[in-house]
Symmetry: C2
Amino acid sequence: MRVTRDEVFRLHAQICKALADPNRLLLIVQLRHRARTVGELSDAIGASQPLTSRHLGVLREKGIVKAERDGSFVRYSLADRRVLTAIDLLLDVLAGQLERQGARGSAVRRLRPAFRSA
Amino acid sequence: MRVTRDEVFRLHAQICKALADPNRLLLIVQLRHRARTVGELSDAIGASQPLTSRHLGVLREKGIVKAERDGSFVRYSLADRRVLTAIDLLLDVLAGQLERQGARGSAVRRLRPAFRSA
DNA sequence: TACTGATATACGGATATACGCATATCTAAA
DNA sequence: TTTAGATATGCGTATATCCGTATATCAGTA
């Protein structure tokens, strides 16, 4: 299959777009250490089951997570950990911006890389 | 200023959203090696001047690029090179996906990291 | 001040996205 | 085959995004 330059940029943007939603970022972060079922994820991010399923579908379609059936459950996991590295980098960028603005709060302190990788 | 956990994820997603457009990715890539004026960028990505300016505005608002006046020109440059690292990582992810699908074309070959960093 | 080139913004239409709610599909077990 | 739990999908609505076109703002110069 032939892929043009424009098509590459379009697909690249599609991947970024898949990350460009708070709920989906939450989902990805939940998968940092282990695979999880839809129900677990739904609980973890505090969203309804249908909404969770749909966001997972978006991530799956873009090849960011993969799904594996386990009985009546579906277990989701990260398909490529480099995505995690990328969003961590962007989080670092955000942390820098917030710090420069003098932002406070525990959520901000937890952003610091040293904190997060622990 | 107090920042909650939800707010952090919202801002994190905002940064991702700023990257989630082919034209804006094109712009960022154009700034990899040097600063450029709006006119230069507009030519480089083949978009109209107003559209280019607006996309640059989005990137500037999210702290991804910074603008510097130079006479009647405005010179844009990257505000944080980690963003470049992040999108390169995501491009690698895409390259892997395309390769697995047996994609061809020079645009795809140029995706390979070894190629790109040269 | 008037004029020109560079950049930014306003407006409107077309398309895409996120969400809630209802419902369909799938799997295991009775 | 029926039932129940887990997951996915359909539909309608509100909102956001992208773009073209026109116009406004700004800096430099005559």
